[in-house]
Amino acid sequence: MRITRIYWLFSAMSLVFTGAFTSTAYAEGWQPKKPVEFVIMAGKGGGADKMARLMQTIIEKHQLSSKPFIPVNKPGGSGAESLIYLKQKKGNDHVIMVTLNSFYTTPLRQPDLDVDISTFTPIGRMAEDTFLLWVHADTPIKSVDDFVKAVKAKGGDWIMAGTGKGQEDELLTNFLNIAYDLNMKYVPYKGGGRVAKELAGKHADSTVNNPSEQLGFYEAGNTRPLAAFTPQRLDLFKDAPTFKELGKNFVYFMQRSVVGAPGMSKEAEAYYRDVFARVYASEEWQQYMKKKSLQGGFLTGDKLKTYWAGEKANHKIMLKDIGEIK
């Protein structure tokens, strides 16, 4: 409560300081009656957190909502904590959540949670983050072929750094191990930034980072992308072929979606859908997507539900492959 109150105080202060009493752009109809709890399914400072805070800032800057969105991080249990929290908030019109792929994998890996993601209210898919295979620029490895040779030469000592267990990075590592008959060692770290640093510091041999995590090191000439897990080549990394071109039909994305508590009223659902459609269309969001090589259009309603169902089915197969679930 304290935080909320202080937040209001400063919001009010900020308005006074700039005299920014411009006309508002709120949607018609249902309005939030109190500050909206904006749950983040990951820890502070991670990719999901940064994006949630960018969304919050855009909402604030363009005054898209009459009440503030207050971000709350609930990272526990690979998102289990926030999934349970949202489930308990059934019928609440003031709780929404930013999700990533643990939205599918955590309920699959922990059936005891009894979370059914199809009951959650679909608000909007804001983007899909892409993945690439990275190595250090000092190595002579220039292509996936070189990579496969180098890994095989090192046997089981090749270190692939990634984030978390049974999460995106390990699924991709497993794909590479199977597709190219490799035996890489997967070492989990906390956060994609840390993983990127392990590669730049040559403590790991390769990573499957998102572009946003490696961009700094890439621009400084420390790391090199070998191939992308996308349907088409990425504009930022024109030289890196897709795995599809290399004859391996494998495409993988990280979703960045906003969901509401189960049983949210139709009016509230329409309101949030409108707010996030405007965030998506904003110049800041579009620029961010371009700069970080994000893909994907705005999806909502039944289309988003269908997308989730498809992704969930895919993840079930992938998790079975690595032996995380039966």
Binding site: R2, I3, I6, Y7, F10, S11, S14, F17, T18, A20, K44, G45, G46, D49, K50, R53, L54, Q56, T57, E60, K61, P71, V72, K74, P75, G76, G77, S78, A80, E81, I84, Y85, R109, Q110, G156, I159, G164, K165, G166, K185, V187, P188, Y189, K190, G191, G193, R194, A196, K197, A200, G201, H203, S212, G216, F217, E219, A220, Q287, Y288, K291
Partner: protein, 503 residues
């Protein structure tokens, strides 16, 4: 000379009226955010982040940097005055700051803390200015094995030397380690020790919950018992003469301050560590190096100076990996990093080349923020000391409320408030049995870092411990740590032998 020219440009940016105003505003806001239990710099920066869209990026980061800095100063205030750590970074300050206040030396503790913070801040900004690129390489050279050996060294400083009862210290560390492993295991992804299946244990036991329980609730219980509800908390007096006296006596703490500054800065630049472990380690080292370690925990000013210097130095230090490598060195810089992304600044090695005025403006503003934080802090000391003159019957409920707020704020979960109250009662009982509590706090902070880095190292090496001795940096730390662990055992044997020959 190139650096000096850049720095001069930076000062030109930092001393722009708007930026200067932001620094002063940020430091003042930070001071209060830091002093408010549970509302550390992480929350402060997170709350104010969207506001910074109203000013240009350079002004925004200067503002947030100033808050971060001010909070480091502010954290010491409630640690010393109320015995509740204002922020996680100020936990180590309670160990000796609180006893000093109870002995009627609250003003001296505050002056020591302010001056140590100033020196720590200054040394770290100087290091930042002149050695940023080589230090970034140090951060890059640090991986899991180095991290683990450093953590082991930190534990060793708490056990190895000093006057405490070693079995009781070990017991306290073990309790802390057990609690630090509650929650989700990073490596296997499995939940561990979810007592009674309560969902609140999924996010682990936040160490502020433990620290506030021990030092806030435990302290109230202790005071109620020892004072029988009657007396004032302390006989605090404040005159200009005492402040000047206080400043003069900082000579005594100078060595601990300088040590804390360098150590804090160094720990700060390592990814994943940050100001909290930095200040705890500085406390441990100050105690180890002291001629009379038994006075620590009983109101030794060195025990205030070292962690305060370290947390300020570490806060500057953790900006280094944020700016040069794009990875946050502390939770607060993680939020700052998010801010930079929003403003369209790409952190990483190229930032120093492409956004010179931003980087050097920030560095210069740290000098300015440091100076203003000192001045504002010293100016407020009389007001803080006045708080101590309140009768205990009024102060105790206020402290109690602040504890509850502080326990609730980090996770916003009532579960943690109950947990904190339980910790308070247990800590009170353990204190009656003469168990030191500081090692438990150290263990819950460093435990998760030590555990993950140990397991990552062993994964890399296929379970071989040689990984800690093959790498030069890790090897040096390991040898010192082992020596520190062995020292009390050797002392014990020596004493026994002496005893035998004499008896």
């Amino acid at each position: 000379m190139d650096i000096l020219a850049l720095l001069a440009d930076g000062f030109w940016v930092a001393l722009q009226p708007q930026n200067l105003l932001l620094v002063v505003l940020g430091v003042t806001v930070g001071l209060f955010i830091g002093a408010m239990p549970g509302l550390g710099s992480v929350n402060g920066v997170a709350i104010l982040l969207p506001m910074t869209f109203l000013v240009p990026p350079t002004g925004a980061i200067i503002f947030l940097g100033a808050i971060y800095y001010g909070a480091m100063y502010g954290g010491a205030i409630s640690s010393i005055m109320l015995g509740i750590p204002g922020a996680s970074t100020a936990v180590a300050t309670t160990f000796d700051g609180r006893p000093m206040a109870l002995q009627g030396n609250a003003d001296r503790a505050l002056v020591t803390a302010a001056i140590a913070s100033f020196i720590g801040g200054t040394i770290s900004v100087l290091l930042f200015t002149f050695f940023a690129p080589p230090l970034a390489n140090v951060a890059l050279a640090f991986s899991s094995p180095e991290e683990f050996s450093l953590m082991l060294l930190a534990f060793a400083t708490f056990i190895g030397l000093g006057g405490d009862d070693i079995p009781k210290t070990l017991f306290s560390i073990c309790i802390g380690l057990v609690m630090s492993s509650v929650g989700l295991d990073l490596i296997s992804g499995q939940p561990r020790m979810i007592f009674f299946g309560l969902p609140g244990f999924f996010h682990g036991i936040h160490f502020l919950v433990l620290a506030i329980g021990i030092y806030g609730i435990g302290e109230i219980l202790w005071t109620v018992e020892s004072s029988k509800g009657g007396m004032k908390l302390s006989q605090a007096t404040l005159t200009l003469r005492r402040i000047i006296q206080g400043i003069k006596t900082t000579k005594e703490t100078f060595k601990a301050t300088v040590m804390g500054s360098f150590l804090g800065y160094f720990v700060g630049i390592l990814p994943a560590a940050g100001a909290t472990p930095g200040s705890l380690m500085a406390y441990g080292v100050a105690k180890s190096l002291s001629k009379n370690p038994e006075t620590f925990g009983k109101g030794n000013p060195n025990g205030v100076a070292a962690p305060e210097a370290a947390n300020n130095a570490a806060s500057t230090g953790s900006m280094l990996p944020m700016l040069t490598l794009g990875i946050p060195g502390s939770p607060t810089t993680a939020i700052l990093l998010g801010g930079m992304v929003i403003w369209g600044l790409e952190p990483g090695p190229m930032l120093f080349v492409e956004h010179k005025s931003f980087v050097w403006g920030l560095i210069a503003s740290l000098y300015v923020a440091n100076l203003f934080a000192l001045l504002i802090n010293v100016a407020f000391i009389p007001a803080f000391v006045w708080v101590l003159k309140l009768p205990f019957t009024i102060l105790a409920p206020i402290i109690f409320i602040l504890c509850i707020v502080g326990g609730y704020a980090p996770t916003q979960d009532m579960h943690d408030v109950w947990l904190m109250l339980i910790f308070g009662v247990v800590a009170y009982l353990m204190r009656k049995l003469d168990y030191p509590m500081a090692p438990a706090v150290l263990a819950i902070v460093l435990g998760p870092l030590a555990e993950t880095s140990l397991r990552q190292s062993l994964l890399i090496s296929d379970g071989s411990f040689s990984v800690f001795f093959d790498r030069p940096i890790a090897c040096v730390f390991m040898i010192i740590a082992i020596a520190l662990f062995a020292l009390p055992v050797l002392n014990l044997i020596k004493k026994r032998l002496m005893h035998k020959t004499h008896g």
